[in-house]
């Protein structure tokens, strides 16, 4: 293993979802040496996730094929960013090795994750996020014949339901927390963005209900039933084999923050700050897609292309897309306005509900704490393997805390990867230690 090797490139792109792929294809004609790093086994991000039996949309296949045809684009899958090791250098790790990569321009396309809120029973096996269910089914999870309840908020609930049904599951309830007026208003507004399918909104889906939210999941060893709040009409208990529950998306800003890029609140969550050319506050670092504020894959494609053009100096090409971006920004604003989370969702957790799943910290331990740092110091909340990516977003919503950015390493890392940092770049000496 030559852990001391340093790779160099002109443009480094982190994330191979719509934004990352669009960025690479926009930058490619310049002839720049481009590397895309992504932590999943295949490119596509979440929305174009590949897997056994997945029929990828044309838009995804076209871009994947175009990337494969570009000799100056190298796609590095199954690889995580561990830390910045110099101002323009990152430490990477895959299943086999760790290595450093130096860049001249960096484009962050780190996407978003689901907002996952704690409620009694949420740690039971069989409870997942909503997008999580979709991702797992696409990766081969068998759900045929299972009774599934999908709950939370946003269009992703419908997408998850469609994927689960196609795989043979019985989706017995889709519970949207937003009220009927809000959802109907969103459906009506979709006419402004042809291509955003109105029919996918499921208002005519027999199992779709608005104004409902999860109260608890019950089961012995795994989820067996879900209790839902039915607006002002009491509660319902639904027997099920799975519960998929997600409350919208949260931008993945951690790497950007680690690199010193400024963040701002957008649609109620921290997002990376970018200018009209997708440049962050740090010279030579751009950001595109959901990490600049959640707004969907069409917006991510436009932002990614703009960042790719801008990174190689094709400013006019980037500027030409600004009108399109404004349209998708408006769509994002409508989405967040219509699916704003209701106040009672801040109080789903019971005193003994675990809020931090990594360190098993109960809500009752966190409620008296003043802020995120106070909670970390006293309870270990946010100090487990996920480094607060789940409980940080949850406590922001529940308590109004402002979680600090994770410190490096940004992901659990092998000692060998860190040890490789110690080797001098110019040393040709390879010392072999007996294992």
């Amino acid at each position: 293993m030559s852990g001391s090797a340093i790779e160099h490139c002109d443009v480094l792109i982190i994330g191979a979802g719509p934004a990352g792929l669009a960025a690479a294809l926009a930058a490619a004609p310049s002839g720049a040496h481009i590397v895309i790093v992504d932590d999943n086994p295949a490119p596509g991000g979440q929305i174009w996730r590949d897997g056994p039996g997945v029929e990828l949309p044309i838009a995804a296949m076209q871009r994947r094929n175009a990337i494969a045809r570009c000799a100056n684009i190298r796609l590095v899958s199954g690889t995580r960013v561990i830390a910045a090791t110099a101002p323009s250098e990152l430490l990477l790790e895959d299943a086999e090795r760790g290595w450093r990569i130096g860049w001249k321009k960096l484009i962050l396309c780190t996407g978003a994750r689901e907002l996952l809120l704690p409620f009694p029973g949420w740690t039971l096996p069989g409870v997942t996020g909503a997008g999580a269910l979709q991702a797992l089914v696409k990766s081969g999870l068998p759900v045929a014949g299972e009774r599934i309840v999908i709950a939370g908020s946003g269009p992703l609930l419908l997408a998850a339901a469609a994927t689960a049904r196609k795989a043979g599951a019985h989706v017995v309830r889709i519970a949207e927390q937003a009220g009927f007026q809000a959802v109907a208003g969103f459906a009506a507004a979709l006419a402004r963005w042809p291509g955003k399918a109105v029919q996918s909104l499921g208002l005519f889906d027999a199992s779709y209900r608005t104004g409902r939210h999860v109260l608890s999941a019950q089961g012995d060893g795994h989820v067996e039933a879900v209790r839902l709040r039915r607006g002002t009409q009491g509660e319902e208990v639904i027997a099920c084999d799975r519960l998929a529950c997600g409350f919208g998306l949260v931008p993945n800003t951690e790497l950007g923050q680690h690199l010193g890029c400024a963040v701002e609140m957008r649609h109620g969550a921290p997002a990376l700050t970018v200018d009209a050319m997708q440049a962050t506050s740090r010279a030579d670092i751009y950001a595109a897609g959901e990490n600049t504020g959640v707004g969907g894959s069409d917006r991510a494609l436009v932002q990614g292309a703009m960042a790719g053009h801008a990174a190689v100096g094709a400013i006019a090409l980037a500027e030409a897309r600004r009108g399109e971006l404004a349209r998708w920004d408006a769509f994002a604003a409508t989405l967040h306005q219509r699916f704003a989370l209701a106040e009672p969702l801040r109080r789903l957790a019971a005193p003994d509900t675990l809020v931090c799943r990594c360190e098993d910290v109960r809500h009752a331990e966190l409620a008296p704490r003043n802020d995120w740092t106070d909670a970390k110091l006293h309870t270990r909340c946010g100090m487990g393997a996920c480094q607060g990516r789940v409980c940080g977003a949850a406590t922001r919503f529940m308590f109004g805390w402002a979680p600090t950015a994770p410190r490096p390493p940004l992901s659990p890392v092998r000692v060998a990867t860190l040890a490789a940092l110690h080797s001098q770049d110019h040393s040709a000496e390879e010392t072999t230690h007996a294992a």
Binding site: P125, L136, G140
Partner: protein
């Protein structure tokens, strides 16, 4: 293009065959029909299964060929040896 080839791997000593491209997270469920694919025990000893599905929550971390990896971001390979801590 439908992939129909299969790969064989071992999960906690049990050999199973899955469709090529299947994630280890999905294979955990295929291997353990009753436990929804438990991957690990939490600090308090609770069973935990894949939760976020996208490499964020680390609930699905398992031992794959002697290294700790995330089941949801790892594809099953022929001859792979997976050990859960459940």
């Amino acid at each position: 293009m439908k992939k129909t080839e299969t790969v064989a791997l071992r999960i906690n000593g049990q050999t199973l065959s899955v469709r090529a491209g299947t994630s280890v997270a999905a294979a955990l469920r295929i291997a353990g029909s009753a436990d929804m694919g438990t991957a690990r025990r939490s600090v308090l000893g609770q069973a935990r299964a894949p939760f976020c599905g996208m490499g964020i929550c680390h609930e699905c971390r398992v031992d794959i060929d002697g290294r700790r990896r995330l089941a949801c971001q790892t594809r099953c390979e022929d001859g792979m040896v997976v050990e859960t801590s459940a």
